[in-house]
């Protein structure tokens, strides 16, 4: 049996659901040394800003149990360099670029989006709203529904009609569904979730924060249950909104978990640092996992975990266990567990 792994995000088709994650694959060239990036569903670029940016001082990284903290500070050469070098490189290879954009003001985002108009190779725009809003005393856009919708609205207005705009949400909020809804109401065609969680490590030898930037974003398998929960809650509330899911995916089964929670595709992030060929392996493992479960189309598993629980009647009594009731409810009704 061959599995149809194609997926659709807001009307745009992708050959498979495995994407890179922003900030974990630069603009694809480094990973292309290990595998053909055109074979991925999409290449999500490191967030592009208007101007060159040096980022933060070092140390920028601290390893944590099943994860890491990073405090890069959006280092990058700026959009001009991206449009002149990186985007054409991706387009020439037939890779589908999901261009992540980041800015400090609504105006920045609008300008960035308008500069991507009509550019070959752009398959999608991902709006990184987890940046400090310079106009609002450094408050992060993604933590405020109004600020998020302002940015998303500006990007949607300045992006070509056929190109989906996805807002990338932060999990560091009280009500992720509320932020998700604001972004969708403001014109987001879909949602990418989740960004890193704010964390901190203190070096017990120097007795100082381990990162020069003091706090950093936590990523890796350590955050996966948080990410799955966020995808679940948002898919439950907004089942028609496509989700690009991410957060600590290391194996094909991890990816499947996100699809079952409601993601239509997944991004592979931190795990790439330790295993540069991970995206290829994860796609293989995911395809095999679907095959083993007798699933012919990947699209059929999106959100499947939300279906009502099955009632299972055991064929025979358990030979060693206690007497079982005739019918065992395997799990509680899911919708009752999570207040939306």
């Amino acid at each position: 049996m061959s599995v149809d792994v194609t997926t659709v995000l807001a009307g745009t088709s992708f050959p498979n659901p495995v994407f890179t994650a922003s900030g974990c694959a630069a603009a694809g060239q480094e990973l292309h040394q290990f595998f053909d990036v055109a074979g991925l569903g999409g290449v999500v670029t490191k967030s592009i800003m208007l101007n060159a940016r040096s980022g933060r001082a070092t140390p920028r990284m601290a390893e944590t149990p099943s994860g890491m903290l990073n405090s890069i500070g959006l280092q990058g050469p700026g959009i001009e360099h991206f449009l002149d070098h990186d985007l054409p490189w991706l387009a020439e290879r037939g890779a589908r670029a999901v261009v992540s954009i980041a800015g400090g003001s609504v105006e920045d985002y609008a300008l960035l989006a308008s500069q991507l108009r009509g550019r070959p190779g752009v398959a999608m725009v991902e709006v990184n709203i987890s940046c400090p809003n310079v106009e609002d005393r450094g408050q992060v856009f993604a933590c405020d529904a109004k600020a998020s919708s302002g940015v998303v609205n500006a990007v949607r207005k300045n992006t070509d009609a056929g190109i989906p705009v996805f807002a990338k949400l932060s999990p560091d909020v009280t009500d992720i569904v509320g932020i998700a809804r604001s972004c969708v109401d403001a014109g987001a065609d879909g949602l990418s979730m989740i960004n890193t969680l704010l964390g901190m490590v203190i070096d017990t030898t120097t007795m100082r924060p381990a990162l020069a930037g003091i706090t950093g974003g936590l990523s890796g398998p350590a955050i996966r249950p948080v990410a799955v929960r966020c995808v679940w809650q948002v898919h439950q509330a907004l089942p028609e909104v496509p989700i690009l899911g991410m957060g600590g995916i290391r194996t094909g089964l991890d990816a499947l978990e996100f699809l079952l929670a409601g993601a239509s595709a997944v991004s592979i992030g931190t795990v790439v640092f330790g295993d540069p060929t991970a995206p290829v392996r994860i796609l293989d493992e995911l395809t095999r996992a679907l095959e083993e479960r007798g699933i012919e189309r990947l699209r059929d598993v999106v959100g499947l975990a939300h279906r009502p629980p099955r009632t299972v009647v055991p064929e025979e009594p358990d030979p060693v266990g206690d007497d079982l009731p005739a019918a065992v409810v395997l799990d509680e009704p899911a919708r009752a567990e999570v207040p939306s």
Partner: protein, 283 residues
Amino acid sequence: MPLQVSGEVLSIKRVGAYQSLTVIAPGIPELTRPGHFLAVQVGGPESSMLLRRAFAIYAVKDRGVYGGTVEFVFAVHGKGTAWLSARRPQDKLDVVGPLGKPFRLPKAAVNVALVGGGYGSAPLLPLATALRERGCRVDVVLGAGSADRLFGRLEAKRIGSSIVVTTDDGSTGQRGRVSDVLPAVLEKNATDVVYACGPMAMLKAVAEQCAERGIPCQVAVEESMACGIGVCMTCVLPVVGSDGLTRMVRSCVEGPVFLGDRVRWDEVGTVPADAVGAPGGPR
């Protein structure tokens, strides 16, 4: 072009305070030049340690009974290196390499000095061999905290034209730092080019001594890395480009070998105010 190889440990041995591990990694030796490094997965497939550990490549053999092998030297610093030190022959080890930009070799048969601190001498030994093959005179200076932290002394003695050793505690060689003896070595041997690998403070001192004398110098830096392949942006340091502008460059892909006079040594760990993209700096 680096390769990711699911290799197998051939041997691991103790060398003074360090461990030297040889891994069977077909394909990598043929591509390796002195100064390249290897990024090694630690902790096994279910490891809670996600990030690779980077080590300068010491020795490679591109053929033999076991196919290609790669050897690197390390000190146990934390959980990852402790796990590595517990590897035994036939254990699996996933390695990526060769990575980074290697040392650039002089075209002519010039006088070269190699300066190694601790196990920073590991990549300098194959470099010494390559330089000798080109007819260069090779003088070696090795320094470490103590005698057990010197690496490759005998090998350096065999390959090199001369060798000077320093230790901080005076347990062997001359008591002091490599920078205490380097000026005399440079003068005595009319050194044309210097190569160095070791701790940042040592590299800074060597680079400054070379700059004072107008001697070109290449240094291999050791910065903390998460990926080793250029995607994570954690291993950056301020380096002056040929256009005179300072940029925060990745030591894994633009380095680890840099020209000594291009690194902004006093500002390593910071973003200089005049760096490209710094707040208020050039764009």
